[in-house]
């Protein structure tokens, strides 16, 4: 009794007719709700980002000018004319609201972010798009690989939870699980790139090789990408192991597992059809949720290796105070993560026969 009362306090009120429609079309209602949440959160996050960028003292042009002033002599009047010109160019003379609308339009519709200071006057979006494939490649492969490896190990460790080795592995994985990728990267670089010289310490490929789909190029890419990927994988695997293990152990305690044992089914069949089939969907959801923190961690890794991805670009633009590029990267990362999560949530009911909306 009490529970329904407090439940109702948490949900916004709907008219009786609306509620009935939602009850009848559960799946459609779920899709609408989830899309609504997606749009709302996306809008909210982009707006917060906008506010952030406007809260910053000074405006991008004056700040950049101020940093230039420190290293060069300047003519005040000329400088002012240039500043005014660029203010116009960057739309900084418009009202805050107009800027906001322009911002949203830039991001969502025209995808034209204005010139980048890093590589003036190339538009920011070009600069970002140049870096994007590298991040997608590095993060994509690392994440997928660590997800697979971590999940398999997690199942093994969860299945044989009585063994001492499983316990030890779990404790180690737990302890390491929140060490930043960056620290691992440092150690890897020091040992394998400098002391042992097995792998190159920076860049995505040897600068002497031409960028083309040749074997030589691809080998170089792989060699250069190994240490950055390894830094991410080593810790990510720990995380997936833990998450999977928890899921497996929870599932193992379910009644249908006891029943499966009573049926005398082989271990392999039980593992695949009774455990994994019931585990894997929450794992996919967990994957989506972790995307944001994986990106957070990868920024520093890319920076250390000077890997030409979004993370490195982010730091470069930061140090140069390249406003447009910064805005673009922030918006892109927000968009990417939120969209991935929404896509996963929308795919879930289709994949899972028993999801209740």
């Amino acid at each position: 009794m009490t529970n329904t009362k407090t439940d109702q306090r948490s949900r916004p009120r709907l008219s009786a007719r609306a509620r009935r429609w939602f009850a009848d079309h559960a799946h459609a209602a779920y899709v609408i709700r989830r899309l609504g949440r997606y749009v709302l959160t996306l809008w909210g996050a982009l707006t917060v980002a906008f506010i952030f960028f406007r809260l910053i003292p000074g405006d991008p042009v004056s700040t950049y000018l101020a940093s230039l002033e420190q290293s060069h002599v300047h003519n005040a009047e000329e400088a002012q004319r240039i500043v005014d010109h660029y203010r116009e160019l960057f739309g900084l003379n418009d009202s805050l609201f107009d800027q906001y609308i322009a911002y949203l339009r830039q991001l969502l519709v025209s995808h034209d972010l204005g010139p980048a200071l890093i590589d003036f006057p190339t538009p920011s979006q070009i600069v970002i798009l140049r870096a994007l494939p590298w991040t997608i490649g590095l993060l994509g492969l690392s994440t997928v690989f660590s997800w697979i490896l971590g999940t398999v190990l997690g199942v093994i460790v969860g299945w044989r939870r009585e063994s001492r080795i499983a316990d030890a592995v779990t404790s180690v994985a737990l302890a390491l699980s929140r060490i930043p990728y960056y620290l691992v990267a440092l150690m890897l670089v020091y040992f394998f790139a400098f002391r042992l010289a097995w792998f190159p310490p920076m860049s995505a490929y040897a600068p002497s090789i031409e960028r083309a789909f040749t074997v030589e190029f691809l080998v170089s890419v792989v060699k250069h990408g190994t240490l950055p990927a390894l830094s991410i994988v080593m810790i990510s695997v720990c995380n997936w192991l833990i998450i999977t293990r928890t899921m497996v152990i929870t599932t193992l305690g379910e009644d249908y597992l006891v029943f499966a044992e009573a049926k005398g089914l082989s271990e392999r069949r039980v593992a695949v059809h009774y455990v994994l089939r019931n585990c894997w969907l929450p794992l996919i959801t967990a994957f989506g949720i972790r995307l944001g923190s994986i990106f957070n961690g990868s920024v520093l890794v890319e920076r250390l290796f000077m890997y030409p991805g979004l993370g490195n670009l982010l730091v470069q633009s930061l140090l140069m105070l390249d406003y447009n590029t910064l805005q673009g990267i922030v918006a892109l990362s927000i968009f990417g993560v939120l969209t991935a999560n929404a896509a996963i949530d929308l795919l879930l009911p289709i994949l899972d026969p028993r999801v209740k909306y």
């Binding site: 249908y256 029943f259 028993r354």
Partner: protein, 353 residues
């Protein structure tokens, strides 16, 4: 009917017993220490016999059921005991000592299980047909097409329509899931089925169907059934023999008629008396005073003595053993009554001395 008994007895090589349990002890390891949920249980089950096990909640019925299937899991542990199975096409074996591979082969094919609250026993991500197919495929080499027909047939026996096969468990009601499990238990015509409260969550009509089906199976296939329920009325209908459990031990075991007509143990007597009569005068029902003891805190001596109207001083000191009692017009050995009560053992001792 008698024919099938004889036939199956011959097939089993003159053994008319399908299972013999000796001094089974199961404990739970909890924060408060070890608690003995099953404390020295012994009985036997004949071929084609339905043995009913009854008792209040907390007496250890389900723990024993799990142990009989060697499904006990931590924090529960089987401390000691023997569970001898006399299977149709093989020799006798001790379930607790068999190696894992052999155990797996025996499961379901010879020893099936209908768990309590079967609602959660079906895999939520598999269709009904697949959950039949996997166990049938595991233990036999029946081709897929035949499996489907077989399953439809099994389901019809429990009153379910063929459409069920393609459904997922969450699309079925609780009662339907229960019946699916029962149908699955019969799929391989096992020697022994252990059913833990199979009819509890069902409405009376479905109950009727289930009881009828189980009886039919016993008649047709010579299947033995250990049937656990606290519902004495169902015991009366279905069971051949009844074992009454109290606080981890069997306090009385005997032919169903003897149990109901002349219960020996005071606890059994109270249970029988608590059944309301449909016909006749309205009588004030007698409950049993007090409440069932918890395994962490069993009374000394006879565990029923605090609630027993006929308690004697010796009852507080000594734990009574399960001993046979002379029955007038006794049948074969397995239908002899056994009771664990000082009232009766003193009578016995009195006669001997």
């Amino acid at each position: 009917m008698a024919d099938s008994h004889v036939r199956s007895a011959k097939r089993a090589g003159a053994e008319s017993t399908v299972a013999e349990i000796n001094d089974l002890r199961v404990f739970y390891q909890t924060n408060r220490g070890m608690t003995w949920a099953v404390d020295g249980v012994s009985f036997s089950v004949g071929r084609g016999e339905i043995l009913g096990i009854t008792g209040e909640s907390g007496c250890g019925k389900t723990t024993m059921a799990n142990a009989l299937l060697h499904l006990t899991r931590p924090p529960g542990h089987i401390a000691s005991g023997r569970i001898c199975l006399y299977l149709q096409d093989s020799e006798a074996l001790d379930l607790l000592k068999v190696d894992k591979a052999r155990l797996r082969k025996i499961r379901w094919r010879h020893l099936a299980y209908i768990p309590q609250g079967s609602m959660n026993s079906l895999n939520p991500t598999m269709r009904v047909i697949d959950q039949f197919a996997d166990v049938i495929g595991e233990h036999t080499s029946t081709p897929r097409a035949d499996i489907r027909n077989h399953v439809v047939d099994l389901l019809s026996q429990v009153g379910l329509e063929p459409q069920i096969v393609g459904k997922f468990p969450h699309e079925l009601s609780g009662g339907m899931k229960q019946r699916v499990i029962i149908a699955m238990a019969m799929a391989l015509q096992p020697d022994l089925v252990i059913a833990d409260e199979p009819t509890t969550a069902l409405d009376v009509n479905v109950q009727r169907v289930i009881i009828q089906t189980l009886a039919d199976l016993r008649d047709r296939m010579g299947m033995s059934l250990i049937f656990i329920t606290h519902d004495m009325a169902v015991q009366a209908e279905l069971a051949d023999r009844v074992a009454v459990m109290y606080a981890g031990r069997i306090v009385e075991i005997g032919d169903v008629r003897s149990i109901f007509k002349s219960p020996l143990h005071p606890y059994t007597r109270a249970l029988i008396q608590a059944i309301p009569h449909v016909e006749g005068e309205r009588v004030c029902l007698q409950g049993i005073s007090g409440s069932a003891p918890s395994p962490t805190d069993w009374p000394s001596g006879c565990r029923f003595h605090p609630r027993c109207p006929a308690a004697m001083p010796v009852c507080r000191r000594e734990l009574p053993q399960l001993l046979p009692v002379e029955q007038v017009g006794a049948g074969p050995a397995s239908s002899q009554s056994l009771v664990a009560c000082h009232l009766h053992s003193s009578v016995l001792r009195g006669r001997i001395s």
